[in-house]
């Protein structure tokens, strides 16, 4: 039986091109190019490496506006077999709960799966909460912050990186794994595969396909709301300009204010 792998991929605005409107504090999305969220590329690469090694059918799913299709085609150009775009106005402004629910419902509808791969977080809203949320909805195990992963029999063996330790864990299928930014170097798409993908087309599912009531999804299905938006206040600093000659004076001040302490503690 071929392994079934699902990759969760989000198209995000290119971080380098993000522009915030100074009056409305909203993101000027038209200015920013859509790209694949970086760790999702690394997640896809792990899926494709497993496919190369032991054979697998790789499905990419993405919830987003119609233009996210581009990003799915790119993934198929790299070697994914199937692409599903979950798109519906009613999905808009979903928080992590509603997003996880929608993605879990998508995976549930796909049916059989062994491994689900996601990125560690998204660069545009960056919570890192969607992957584990999906795993909880599907009631399956998870391994987060993977640097690499390989299939060993009916298990996945993952090296994960924590703040204070590196851990190797083995978990039986089905399992969801979230992948670190920069875990690997993603392969490039081939033109031929991309053309094939465009010919084959990607599937588009909406809330009705998923059988999700409108008040379960998008902003209506989200327990959290954005109450207000502000631009971070910067603490005003003195920015006192110091020349080489004034350094002794500055050091005196630091001692006086107790910012630097003498050996005797004074």
């Amino acid at each position: 039986m071929t392994l079934k792998i699902i990759v969760m991929m989000k198209q995000v605005p290119d971080a380098e091109e993000i522009f915030i409107d100074p009056v409305t504090y909203t993101l000027n999305r038209t200015a920013a190019r859509g790209v694949i969220n970086i760790p999702d590329e690394n997640a896809l690469e792990i899926a494709l490496q497993i496919k190369d090694k032991v054979g697998a059918e790789v499905t990419v799913i993405s919830m987003g506006p119609p233009q996210a299709e581009e990003a799915i085609i790119e993934c198929m150009g790299r070697g994914a077999d199937r692409g599903i775009l979950i798109t519906d106005r009613a999905f808009a402004a979903a928080d992590t709960y509603a997003t996880s629910l929608t993605l879990a419902a998508t995976i549930d509808k796909i049916g059989k799966y062994d491994i689900i791969l996601a990125g560690e977080s998204t660069t545009d809203s960056g919570t890192g909460h969607v992957g584990p949320g999906v795993a909880e909805f599907l009631d399956i195990d998870q391994v987060t912050y993977a640097e690499s992963a390989e299939v060993v029999d009916d298990k996945i063996r993952v090296k994960r990186i924590l703040e204070d330790a590196d851990e190797v864990v083995e978990v039986p299928f089905p399992v969801l794994v979230t992948v670190l930014t920069g875990a690997n170097i993603p392969r490039r798409a081939t033109l031929r595969r991309k053309i094939d993908a465009i010919k084959k087309g990607i599937e588009r599912w909406d809330h009705e396909t998923l059988g999700l009531p409108p008040d379960w999804i998008g902003i209506r299905g989200s327990p959290t709301i954005v109450g207000a938006v502000k631009v971070p206040e910067e603490k005003k600093r003195a920015s006192k300009k110091i020349s080489l000659e004034q350094i002794p004076e500055m050091i005196d001040e630091l001692f006086e204010k107790g910012i630097i302490k003498r050996e005797d503690g004074a």
Binding site: A15, G128, P132, L138, V171, I225, P232, S243, I251
Partner: protein
């Protein structure tokens, strides 16, 4: 589709009381991020006259409970098992959910460490509530006991206020390093309720094959940090940075490009993709002041920058801006500090 259900709010949100904190610990002591959360929980609980309840899992929790007490915890709930020595998402999430269902906290604070983020949304989905993720400011509106959380968005270009009006507990994952560690009150005690639990066999299929602790520099705990950037011009420049850090009794930090170049290991990196620090004194030498670096250090109390470009962006974030070649400025600083440290030389009399 039994598990795939929407976020149904509870009917009786008045029943939800107190502030719960998930306490993460390592080698017998509480991690900094969780201490920040206990401190914040104390402030919030005091405003609404409620208690701080800490929850924790592990194989030996008494010392953790004791430490939590000294930082402001009122009630410590623990689940102890030899198997809980290692973190596993599912049994941890299930146990904490049990605590939540039993104690019904109004607010749940979890530090957004890797472990914290692994847990928080599983818990939230299980108890059917929302998470304000990666928050950097937290406050409470005392009348409705509504938590006001703020989280940066779009690479910290804006800050969004997140509210969870109808669901409980109001759950937060907080960016580590966003709050000071609270004052420790030696001898302060809390009520301790630690139960022994047995881990279901099926969870042990999640096998931890190996765990290699790494010697990691934790800059979030440093009071004094001297950081070097590309302006050092060469890897050797870190010798001078180290020397200044040594006379100040501090640690060495770095900007990202010098880490990428391999001049210094990643655990020295400060910034958006490195550590967020809150030093008493932060010195930035040869660092231009790009926002991705600044977000990781701007909460420091006193900031000195050294840069030979009079228009360097870092000036704006500095209390003192030494506009000079760092290779000239730092040796003078080292000299002047050494003289005064010993209490001789040019220092003014400290009274």
């Amino acid at each position: 589709m039994s598990k795939l259900i929407n976020c149904v709010p509870p009917e009786n949100i008045e029943e939800y009381k107190n502030v719960m904190v998930y306490v993460e610990h390592r080698n017998g002591s509480i991690v900094r991020g969780s201490l920040e959360m206990i401190g914040r929980a104390r402030v919030i609980a005091d405003k609404v006259n409620e208690k701080v309840i800490c929850v924790s899992l592990g194989d030996n929790l008494s010392p953790i409970a004791e430490e939590a007490g000294t930082y402001g915890c009122d009630i410590f709930l623990g689940a102890e098992s030899p198997e809980h020595r290692y973190f596993r998402s599912i049994p941890y999430a299930h146990k904490i959910t049990d605590f939540i269902e039993k104690y019904k906290p109004n607010i749940l604070l979890i530090s957004g460490t890797r472990e914290g983020r692994d847990l928080v949304s599983r818990i939230a989905v299980r108890v059917r509530t929302g998470v304000a993720a990666d928050c950097v400011e937290l406050d409470v509106e005392p009348k409705q006991r509504l938590l006001i959380s703020w989280r940066p968005a779009f690479g910290d270009k804006t800050i969004n206020q997140i509210l969870c009006r109808k669901h409980r507990p109001q759950t937060v994952s907080s960016r580590p390093g966003s709050y000071p560690v609270p004052e420790k009150i030696p001898g302060r005690k809390c009520e301790v309720r630690i139960e022994k639990v047995k881990l279901d066999e099926k969870y042990l299929k999640h096998r931890i094959v190996s765990r290699k602790p790494k010697e990691k520099l934790d800059l979030t705990k440093s009071d004094i940090i001297v950081s070097g950037g590309l302006g050092l011009g060469k890897p050797d420049g870190f010798k001078l940075i180290r020397e200044l850090a040594d006379v100040l009794g501090g640690d060495v930090g770095a900007s990202r490009p010098v880490v990428d170049l391999g001049w210094i290991p990643y655990d020295h990196q400060v910034g958006q993709t490195g550590q967020t620090v809150r030093a008493k004194l932060y010195v930035a030498a040869g660092i231009s002041g790009k926002i991705q670096h600044v977000v990781g250090m701007k909460a420091s109390e006193t900031i000195i920058s050294i840069n030979n470009d009079p228009d360097a962006g870092i000036a704006k974030y500095s209390d003192y801006f030494i506009n000079a070649d760092l290779y000239k400025a730092i040796p003078i600083m080292i000299d002047e500090i050494k003289k005064r440290k010993k209490g001789s030389g040019g220092a003014k009399k400290s009274s």
